[in-house]
Amino acid sequence: MNQPAEDERLHAWLRQHAPELPDDGFALRVLAALPPRAASSPRVHPALLATCGGLAGLVFAVLKGARWPDFVRAVEVAGSVWLQLAGAVADPWIWAAVACAGTALLARSFLVRWQTRH
């Protein structure tokens, strides 16, 4: 018996006799079962948003009568706050908290991928 020819005949039979199922509204049922559309929100570039916010703050400050020395003082205050923050970050507990949060985010990301796959 010629096995490759037999195989070919079997494949051809199975291909030819695979019934093509009519849609019969199946696609519509699928579309109706899809999750609702996500509310579309206009995407604004973060840099543009930050620049506009900064400019608005500047205009507000000038309108309120702020002068250059006031800005210098504000920068100094911001600098001291930054230094305090930097000191806090040196605390090992802060790093532990950051590591925990990072691990949780990674775990969530893997979980989403796994759920998609399974």
Partner: protein
């Protein structure tokens, strides 16, 4: 001109174009439903429910479809996972889906003299679930051994074993249609 699958997928990704997704469903529903009908041993209602779940999942995961494989192969992979999850549910009636005992091939008398399509359907139903799982995508969808291995998450050797066993059974069951047998 009819858009390709890739173009439709791009439209769905870009703007949540549901009509494009509907077109994809219409194109692939027959293959997915047929595949699931085989897996569920002809339970059309369950197969269609699982097919619907397959497409809903595919819609959610479309952003992660990399195009490394054929879209229909990717869909069949999701369908297989949906079917496996369904089998794990408590309401699953395992006894109903037991494999046909290995090595015992019974040709129902009613198939003798019937048309080839009917005989093929009966012969396919005589195969074990794993043999059907290998034969169906290979012969009806034209998937390669490697693609089937990735689809059902079996080693390549297991795919080949089930394919060969399944084909051998089919040859025996359909011997009446072979004038040289």
């Amino acid at each position: 001109m009819t858009p390709t699958d890739s173009e439709l997928i791009a439209r769905v990704r870009r703007g949540d174009d549901r009509s494009a997704f509907g077109e994809l469903v219409q194109r692939h529903q027959s293959a997915v439903r047929n595949f699931l009908r085989h897996l569920t041993r002809g339970d059309h209602a369950t197969a269609d429910d699982l097919a619907q779940e397959t497409f809903v999942r595919a819609y959610g995961a479309l952003a992660r479809f990399r195009g490394g494989s054929n879209f229909s192969t990717w869909l069949l992979g999701i369908a297989h996972n949906v079917y496996r999850n369904h089998r794990r549910r408590p309401e699953w009636d395992a006894a109903r889906w037991e494999d046909v005992s290995a090595g015992t091939i019974v040709v129902p008398p009613s198939t003798r003299g019937a048309d080839l399509e009917h005989d093929l359907a009966v012969a396919m139903s005589q195969l074990s679930r794993d043999e059907q799982l290998a034969i169906h995508p290979a012969c009806r969808q034209g998937l390669s051994h490697g693609e089937i291995a990735a689809l059902v998450e079996w080693p390549l050797g297991t795919v080949k074993t089930h394919l060969n066993r399944g084909k051998e059974k089919l040859r025996q069951l359909l011997a009446a249609w072979n004038p040289h047998a």
